[in-house]
Symmetry: C2
Subunit: 381 residues, 2 copies
Amino acid sequence: MDNFQNSVGLVEVQSLTFAEPPDTLALASGKSLGPITIAYETYGTLNRDRSNAILMTHAFSGDAHAAAYHNESDKHPGWWDSMIGPGKAFDTDQYFVICTNVLGGCAGSTGPSSINPETGKPYALDFPMVTIVDMVECQRHVVDHLGIDKLLCVTGGSMGGMQTLQWVASYPDRIHAAIPIATALKHSPQQIALDEVGRQAVMADAEWDRGNYYGKGLPRKGLALARMIGHITYMSDKSMEDKFSRNLKDKDLSFSFIEDFEVEGYLRYRGDSFVKRFDANSYLYITKAMDYFDLSGDLLFPHGGTVDIRFLVIAFGSDWLYPAYQSREIVHLLKTRGVEATYCEIKSTYGHDAFLLEIEEETHLIKHFLDKTVQLVQKGK
Amino acid sequence: MDNFQNSVGLVEVQSLTFAEPPDTLALASGKSLGPITIAYETYGTLNRDRSNAILMTHAFSGDAHAAAYHNESDKHPGWWDSMIGPGKAFDTDQYFVICTNVLGGCAGSTGPSSINPETGKPYALDFPMVTIVDMVECQRHVVDHLGIDKLLCVTGGSMGGMQTLQWVASYPDRIHAAIPIATALKHSPQQIALDEVGRQAVMADAEWDRGNYYGKGLPRKGLALARMIGHITYMSDKSMEDKFSRNLKDKDLSFSFIEDFEVEGYLRYRGDSFVKRFDANSYLYITKAMDYFDLSGDLLFPHGGTVDIRFLVIAFGSDWLYPAYQSREIVHLLKTRGVEATYCEIKSTYGHDAFLLEIEEETHLIKHFLDKTVQLVQKGK
C-alpha cells in the first residue's frame, strides 16, 4: 500500500488521565469535571530541547488517530496521514506531532458515553456542557505531560481551526505559530442552524431516549440523518456534480421511494457508517461547543491587544460551510493587531472537505511556513 | 390593512374534478389515476377573446391561494399577493390570473391524503408517484375547463419554474410567454441530496408508520425537521446574519440543549408551523417529483428543435438552493435554439426566498415584459 510505505508506520493510542480526586477541571460553564482521560497519539521524535512539537487538533468527527496505522492489517491510516509522515507537510523526520481526541468525544477521551464515577453508569446528559476552551485546556494537560513548554505550531481544520484559535487566546506564550484552516472566529447563524438540525435529528429519534440509550438501543436513524446533512455541507455543489451528477443506481427511475440516484445511496451509506463509529450524545455536545465558540474582536486577545505568534490562514474557494470570508475575517483581525499573518485561499471544487483533500497545495504552503518558523525560532525571534 | 386595500379583495377556492370513471389520467410513470380534483383560484376577469390569462404555478409548499383573502378576518393574503392585484406586476385590472394546487398536494388537490375510491381510505403510499409532467397535465385540464386556448403567460418560482418549463415542453403552442424564476432545467445532485434528507427525516419518524398515519398519529418531528432543513436552504448566509446574527434568546448561554440562539428558535417555530398545514406524504411525493424533473438539452423541445415563446428568466444572486448558474443554463439552452430570452439576475441578500421578497425589482421586470408580450400578441406575432 502506497501510503503505508510512505507512512509513520504503526502507532498506538496513548492516554493521559488527570483531574483525579480530589482534583477536578474547572469548565468554562462554571461546572467541574474529573477524572478526565484524553486519548492521544504522537508521530516522530521529540528533540532534546523539546522545541519541535506540533499539535494537531481534529475536526468535528475526528479522533486522535491523525496518521499511521494501528496494526499490520489496517486498511486505512489516520485522517490526515497524507499530511503527516516522513517528508510530508508535517515531516515526522523533523517534527514531533501530537494529536488528541477532544474532551466530549467518543474515541478514547472522556465524553458523555464515559462512565460517570458517581453512578457507575455512562454520563449521558449528566455530562456537563463542554466548550472549545475546555478542549484546549485538556490538550494543555497533555502538552504539559509531554514536558513541552512551547509548541512550535498548533494547527487544525474546521473545528480544529477553532481549537487552534483558542490556543492563541488561552496560551499565546506557549505557541510560536498557528495554522487555522477552513475555520471561523465564530459560528454564524447558518452554521448554528445546520448544527441545530443535526441535533434535532438525533433528539427526534425515539431511540435516543433523552440520551439514555447506552446498553439499549441506538438513535441510528437520527444520527445517520444528522450525518447525511453534514455530508452535504462538507461537499460543494460542483463536487457533487463531478462525483454523482444525476447518475441512477439502477437503469430506470423506480417511481417509488427507494434510492434512485447514486447521491442518495452515497448519503445513506455515509450515514449508516457513521452510526457505527460515533456516539450520538457526543454529536450533541461537540456541535454545541462549536456553536458557543466566539473569539471575534477582543475575545481573541484576552491577555492584551496582540500576540507574538505567526499565522498561516488557509481557506478554500468552494467551501460554503466555512466560507473563505470567515478566514479573511481572521486575517483582518490579526492585521489590525499587527500580527504577522499570511492568507492563502486555495482554489478547489471539493468544498469544506478540501482541507482533507488538497494535499499538494497545503503541503507546499505549510512546509514553507514551518521552515520559516523554525528559522525564526532558532534566531530567537 | 395595507395589502387588503390594495388587493383583489376576497376570493374563493374553486375546484375541477376530471378523469372520472371510466376515465383516468395516464401518468408519466405508466400508472393511471382518477378521479382527480384540482383546487384553483382566479383573480381578475377573463376578457372576451380569452387572451389575457396568466397561469401561476406554485413552489414546493405553496397552494392555489396565490393572492387576495379568503374572508374578512383573514390576516394573511395569498403567497404572492404582493405581485398579483390591481396595478401590481400581474395586474388584475388587465389580466386574468389562475393558480392551481399541484397534483400530489394537500390543499384541495388530489394527493396521498385524499380518499382512494377503491378502499374508502386515504391513498397514503398507494398513491402513484407523480411528476412535474403530471402536474402540468392537470393544470391543462383546468385551463381547458376555463375555455382558454392559449395562455398569455405561465410563470412560477422554484418548483413553479419547473412547471413553467414543463408547459414549454408539453404545450409549446398553448403559451405565448414564460417567466421561470429561481429555478433549474433539472435538479442537481445537491438538490436531490437536500430533498432526500428531508424525506429520510419524515420516514425516520416512527409516527410516519410507512405512510399510514392518517387518523392516527402524525410524523410531527420528522416533518418539522425536514422543514427546518428547508428553511436553511431558503435563506442565505447573509440574510441569516442580518436577521439573527448570534443573538441569544435569553441573556446568557444556557449550557444545555435548550435553544440558545434566536435562529434555533426560529427554525423550531417554522418547523412546528409547517406540520399544522402540510401533509407528510405530500412532502415525499412532491420532493420526488422535483428530483425526477429533467428538461435539459433536447428534453425541453420534444416537439421540435425550438419553440415560439418569449422568455423572461429571473435569478437571484444569493440563492444557493437554485443558484443563478442554473438559470443561465436555461437561457443558454434557449439562445442556442434561437428562442427570445431575457435574463435578469437580481442582486439580493435574501437567498432563494428572494423570489417572494424582491417585489419592486420583479414588478419592474415583469410588468414591462408582459406589456411587450401583449403588444406582440396583438400584432399577431
